[in-house]
Symmetry: C2
Subunit: 343 residues, 2 copies
DNA sequence: TTTAAAATTTTACGCGCGTAATAAAAATTG
DNA sequence: CAATTTTTATTACGCGCGTAAAATTTTAAA
C-alpha cells in the first residue's frame, strides 16, 4: 500500500490510469468492464486502498444497494437466527443488509419504518410485530419500496408473504400427541402479540374436532414479549391450582413452554413420555434453546432455511421485475415434527 | 399533510418561508435557531412531511451522526440485550445506531470493521470477538474513529474499555460456593473464544488458593460459539465416565452450564442445593435464560446497566473531547451474586 | 429611542460521485 | 487488411446539502 492517500475517485483515476466514468462503472459492477481494465483497476486497488464514498454514491444512484431487514424482537434467538440467515443471503447478492429490531414495541416499529426511508432501501424484508403493528404505516412502506413480509403476515394488506404453515404444523403435532397418548390441552396467551397464535389455536380446535375430541384451552394473561416469564408464572399458578397436573399440554410457542417447564420442575411435576412422568409438554417453533430444556422439548420446526431463502429470492424477484415477482402471493412452508423427550 | 410533495430543502424553504441555510441549521440542531423560527419550521413540517436527504447530509457534514455498534454474536441473547440497551442510549443522544454482528466469525468481524468505514461513523462501540480478533485491524479502527471497547478488552491495544470485573465476580462466586458446601471444580473450554474466560480461570485458581484449596479444572474441547451444545455433549461424557457425579461445578459461563444442566437431567443426575441433590451447578453472566433452567441457575450477574450506560457516556466524552474522554482507561464494574436453586 | 448583539437571508461555492453525449481507441469480424 | 462493434476517454452537468461571507432584519439591552 502506497503512502499517497487517495481521497476521491478523481485521484484514483489518476493513479490507476483509468478514467473516472469507467471507474464508476467498475464500482457499480466489476463485471461490466473489460477483463484487462478490471485487472488494472484491481492492481491499483491493491496499491492504494481506495473505497468510493458511500454517501456520494447513494445520493446519485437510481437505487441504493441497501436492503432493510426488520424483525420484531432481536433478543429472541429465534429471530436472531433468521436475521443472520437473511443477512448472509443478502450479502451474497451483493447488497448491504440493514438490520433493525422493533424490540417488541409498536412505536419502535414505526420508528424503524421511518428510519428505513432515510436510507432509501432498494428493498425491505419485514417481519411485523403483528397485532400491534401500525397497518397503515406498513402498508405505506409496502407501496413505497419493494417489500416482502415474512414470519407474520398482515393479511389485510394482501402483500407478498413468506412464512410458516401454522395450520399444518399444529395439525401434525396434535395428530402425534393424540396418537401417542392423552389428547392435548392448549396453552396460549389471551392476547398474543403475534397473529400466528390465532392460526395455531384454530388449527388446534379443528384438529381436535377431526379426532372427535373436545378441545380445552388455557388462555393466560400477559401481553409482553417475555414469554418465558409468562409461561413460568402462569404455569406455576395453574399447577398450584391443580388445573394442570397430568395429561398433555400443547403450547402455542416454545418460549412459553420453556417457562412452563421451569415451573413444572420447580413444583416437582415430572414431564416426559416415560412412566413416572405426570404430563407431556409440547411446543412450537423449534426454538434454538428447545434442545436444552429439561426434558428436551418436543416441538414443530419451521423450515427456517426455506423461509429465509425464499424471502430473499422473492424480494430480488420483485427488484428485478422477474416472473416470480408476484407481489400479492402468500407462500407457506410446512413444519416438521421434532420428537424429543418432553412428549 | 399537503399534496405538494417536497423533494429537497430548497423547495421546503419556499413553502416554509425560511431560508435554506437556516433550515440546514435547524435540521442539524433544532435548538440552534430562534424559538419562533423553530415553531414556523415545525408547523410547515406538519403540513409537508419533508425529511432531509441523509446521503447528501452525510456527504458534506464534518461528522455523521452514526454510531457503529459491533457485537460478537447477536444470536446470543446476552449480547442482544446489551445491544438493545446501547441502541436506546445512542438514540437518546440524537445519534443513529448501526448494529452489526460478527456472528462468532473473525472474518465477519473484519468485514464489519471495513463496512463500518463506509458509513464514516462519528464513533464506534466495539465488543470484539476476543482471541480470534484481528488485533491490527481493531487497532486501526480505534485510531481512525473515536472508539470504546466493551465486554471484552484487547489489552495490547491499551484502549478505552468498559466491562465486567471477571476477577471479582468469579471471586464472590467461589467464596459463596466454598462457604455453603463443597468447593467447586471448574468447567471451561480448552480454547475459549473469549479472553474473559482466562481471567475467570485465573481468578478461580487464586480464590481456591486463598481458601487453602486445591483447584480442579475440566478443560473441554470445542471451539465454536455453540456453548450449550458443548456443555451438553461434554457434560454427558464426563457424567458417563463418572468424572462428574457429585460436588460442585462452576462453569465459565451460563451457556455452558445450561447445556450441562440438560445433560445432567437426561442422565438422571439431580442438581441443586436441597438434600437428594447430587451436585451443585453455578454459572457466570446471568444470561437471560438462566432464570428458566431446571433448576434455576445460580450465577454472577454483570452490571448490564452500568456497562452499557458507561460505554455510551465514555464514547460521547471522546466525541466531544470532554474530560472523561481518556482513551486508554479501563473501567470495570463489579458482578453481583444471583442465588437461585442450582447452587 | 438609540445602540449593540443575535439571528436570518442572500449569494455562492464545493463535496464526491452518477451519468449522458460525443469522440477516440481497442477489440472483433470476415 | 478494412469495416464493424465494443469499450474507454473526454467533457460537462446535476444531485441535495453543508457552509462560509456579507448584507439585512430582528431582538435585546441601555
Amino acid at each position: 500500500m502506497s503512502d499517497t492517500t487517495i481521497k476521491n475517485m478523481e485521484e484514483f483515476a489518476v493513479v490507476s490510469g483509468i478514467s473516472r466514468p469507467t471507474l464508476s462503472k467498475y464500482f457499480n459492477d466489476p463485471e461490466s468492464v473489460r477483463q484487462s481494465t478490471k485487472a488494472k483497476i484491481e492492481a491499483a486497488l491493491e496499491l492504494h486502498a481506495y473505497r468510493p464514498n458511500m454517501y456520494a454514491m447513494n445520493q446519485n444512484r437510481r437505487s441504493t444497494r441497501n436492503i432493510g431487514i426488520i424483525v420484531p424482537f432481536l433478543a429472541d434467538p429465534f429471530f436472531a437466527e433468521i436475521a443472520r440467515n437473511i443477512e448472509n443471503l443478502v450479502i451474497n447478492e451483493g447488497y448491504r443488509p440493514i438490520l433493525l429490531s422493533s424490540h417488541g414495541d409498536p412505536r419502535q416499529e414505526v420508528e424503524n419504518l421511518i428510519s428505513l426511508r432515510d436510507i432509501k432501501p432498494a428493498g425491505v424484508l419485514l417481519a411485523p410485530l403483528g397485532r400491534a403493528s401500525n397497518i397503515a404505516e406498513v402498508g405505506e412502506l409496502c407501496s413505497e419500496f419493494p417489500t416482502v413480509l415474512f414470519d407474520c403476515n398482515i393479511e389485510s394488506l394482501n402483500h407478498a408473504f413468506v412464512g410458516h404453515n401454522n395450520t399444518q404444523a399444529t395439525d401434525i403435532m396434535v395428530d402425534y400427541l393424540v396418537r401417542t397418548g392423552e389428547p392435548p390441552v392448549y396453552f396460549e396467551m389471551k392476547k398474543p402479540p403475534n397473529p400466528n397464535a390465532n392460526k395455531r389455536r384454530l388449527s388446534y380446535i379443528n384438529s381436535m374436532e377431526r379426532h372427535g375430541l373436545e378441545s380445552s384451552i388455557f388462555s393466560v394473561d400477559g401481553e409482553s414479549w417475555n414469554f418465558e416469564e409468562i409461561g413460568y408464572s402462569r404455569g406455576k399458578e395453574l399447577i398450584s391450582s391443580k388445573d394442570i397436573t397430568n395429561g398433555t399440554v400443547l403450547f402455542t410457542n416454545d418460549r412459553l413452554a420453556i417457562g412452563f417447564l421451569a415451573a413444572a420442575y420447580e413444583m416437582g411435576l415430572r414431564v416426559g413420555r416415560g412412566n413416572g412422568c405426570a404430563l407431556r409438554v409440547a411446543g412450537h417453533d423449534n426454538h434454538p434453546y428447545s434442545r436444552f430444556t429439561c426434558p428436551a422439548l418436543t416441538t414443530v420446526s419451521h423450515d427456517y432455511d426455506a423461509i429465509s431463502r425464499t424471502s430473499v429470492t422473492r424480494l430480488f424477484d420483485l427488484l428485478e421485475n422477474r416472473e416470480g415477482g408476484d407481489s400479492t402471493d402468500e407462500q407457506l412452508f410446512p413444519g416438521k415434527l421434532i420428537m424429543r423427550d418432553s412428549a
